[in-house]
């Protein structure tokens, strides 16, 4: 049953767990960066907020609605962002994009991705890649705006 194996790859337990129990839902007070990402094709949404301290992301929150892939990816992302500088966060985004588009990832990079690696199964479902990237688009926007505002 290849189909079920592919489905199991896509919907790994880690993903379903993040979908059912999304992390970091508590609104950030006085956020330093925020952004909203919408996928106009399906209506999935992610709102991201983060607070900075000493040049690092110290508090993150996301609110969203959408499919298991978009919401789990955003949830995992918020966990990975804490303690990262904006540059480190964007670097992680870039590695994750390479994973999604089927490019080679080093062992070290895979380790650095933590639970994000569970989304590797999405690669076999090209139409769902944009779901996995939705939260990351909001991060990209949020950091872009933050960088503009803070020189």
């Amino acid at each position: 049953m290849t189909e079920l194996n592919e489905l199991d790859d896509l919907y790994q337990e880690i993903i379903l767990d993040h979908y059912r129990h999304p992390r970091n839902q508590q609104a950030v007070e006085a956020p330093d960066m925020q952004a909203h990402a919408l996928n106009p094709f399906c209506g999935d949404e992610v709102d991201l907020q983060a607070r900075m301290e000493d040049g690092r992301i110290c508090e993150v929150c996301f609110k969203g609605r959408g499919c298991s892939i978009s919401q789990a990816s955003a949830s995992i992302m918020t966990e990975l962002l804490k303690g990262k500088t904006p540059e480190e966060a964007l670097e992680l985004y870039s590695v994750f994009r390479r994973l999604m588009f089927g490019e080679d990832i080093s062992e070290e990079e895979l380790d650095g991705m933590g639970e994000l690696g569970a989304l590797a199964g999405v690669r076999k479902f090209p139409v769902r890649i944009k779901c996995a990237l939705l939260g990351w688009n909001s991060l990209d926007d949020a950091i872009g705006e933050y960088a503009k505002a803070n020189g």
Partner: protein, 409 residues
């Protein structure tokens, strides 16, 4: 009674496997499959008489022109238009509605006027009117839906007023399957002198439509949702309205005489068909009309009522986990069933059942205002056509059951 197994043999695409399972194609509201008679019409044209239409004196040109115009006759006859001159070829419903918005509406809608739609329009019959309302200082109003997903016809008298210039309504909702009593709406519009446009994209493929009987001014539909090719559709316009309309696109074909600084317009309906038209697809749309007429539109409608009734019954097995929407009275409903499961997002449902060979659509179905009103981010939708069987409904329901189990584990 239609012989569905015999009909299925006409559709080459249906006989394939998807992820190792027989294809169950239930996305017919998005586009239908094509019978080999339609595919053959395209091949015959390109292999036998490909040539530009009108004006050519050579044999192939005359043959192409005859087939192109014969197709227009078939379409006129199919929807009960008094004359083929009332039929303008377009790329599809969207272009047809835009044609009306950029021509008739530009000339006839002004400040303070009202355009009335329903609360369940496809974006293609909403966004063009938003543009006109904004540009002209007119107001856009919606006929509301009732709890049973039919239109609240009791509001017609208050929504359609002396200020209403245009009533633009769907004939059948692409989300809910709701069939709109358009004739009553035309009568209400007539009382205040408003024009009526009907978006027939979901109706023409599935039921008998007679524009003369409806007495509407504009009727738009697409070829690809009725066994025809993509990129071709038609706009019916009542002759007295069409002859007063300014051209949409300008260029070759739509002119009678051209000087360096001015031009005069061709006869109807060529005045609205600038440039080399989509000849092959127009001819193949005629073949699609032939195909549907051979089956009989009343038979097609009856088959879809039976399939939908079977599906609604079968969905009872899922009712603990999954809601579905649309009128329960099948006299007011076409072959569409939109559904939503609290625990499984529509996209996840769609991906899951696809692995069982079942093609359904998920998302907002180009009806975001309706989704908001339903309080849902998206739905999954199964939509049926003449080649679908009750066995396919069983496969769908079985795959949905598996999905619900899978995601609740």
């Amino acid at each position: 009674m239609l012989d569905v197994q015999a009909i299925r043999k006409d559709f080459p695409i249906l006989h394939q496997s998807v992820h190792g399972k027989p294809l169950v194609y239930l996305d017919n509201a998005a586009t239908t499959q094509k019978p080999r008679q339609v595919i053959q019409a395209l091949v015959d044209y390109y292999e036998g008489y490909n040539s530009n239409v009108h004006r050519a004196v050579h044999t192939l040109g005359q043959k192409a022109t005859a087939a192109y115009e014969e197709s227009r006759e078939k379409i006129a006859n199919f929807i009960g238009a008094p004359s083929s001159q009332d039929i303008v070829y377009t790329r599809g419903t969207t272009e047809a509605i835009n044609l009306v918005s950029y021509t008739w509406a530009e000339e006839n809608i002004g400040p303070g006027d009202e355009i009335v739609v329903t609360e369940m329009e496809h974006h293609s019959n909403l966004v063009p009117w938003q543009r006109i309302a904004q540009a002209k200082g007119a107001t856009l109003k919606g006929i509301p839906l009732k709890e049973d997903w039919t239109l609240d016809m009791s509001t017609l008298g208050s929504v359609i007023t002396e200020r209403t210039k245009l009533v633009a309504v769907t004939h059948m909702s692409n989300v809910l399957g709701t069939i709109v009593p358009v004739k009553e709406i035309v009568q209400a519009a007539r009382r205040v002198g408003a024009k009526v446009l009907i978006d027939g994209a979901q109706a023409v493929p599935h039921m008998r439509v007679n524009v003369a009987d409806l007495d509407c001014d504009f009727y738009a539909f697409s070829g690809h949702k009725m066994c025809g090719p993509t990129g071709i559709g038609a706009l019916y316009v009542k002759e007295e309205v069409l002859k007063e309309m300014e051209p949409f696109h300008r260029g070759g074909e739509m002119v009678r005489e051209v000087w360096f600084d001015r031009a005069t317009w061709n006869d109807l309906p060529m005045r609205f068909e600038a440039g080399t038209p989509n000849i092959a697809d127009a001819i193949a749309l005629g073949a699609a009309v032939d195909y549907l007429q051979t089956l009989g539109m009343d038979n097609i409608r009856q088959h879809e009522i039976e399939i939908t009734s079977y599906a609604i019954e079968a969905f009872k097995e899922l009712e603990e986990d999954l809601d579905h929407y649309g009128p329960r009275d099948l006299q007011y409903r076409g072959g569409i069933i939109s559904f939503y499961a609290e625990d499984v997002h529509p996209h996840d449902l769609g991906t899951f059942v696809d692995s069982y060979g079942v093609a359904i659509r998920t998302g907002h179905h180009c009806a975001m205002p309706l989704m908001r009103q339903m309080g849902l981010p998206a739905t999954a939708r199964a939509s049926f056509y003449v080649y679908n069987t009750t066995e396919e409904i069983d496969i769908l329901v079985d795959a949905l059951k598996k999905a619900l189990r899978y995601f609740s584990k």
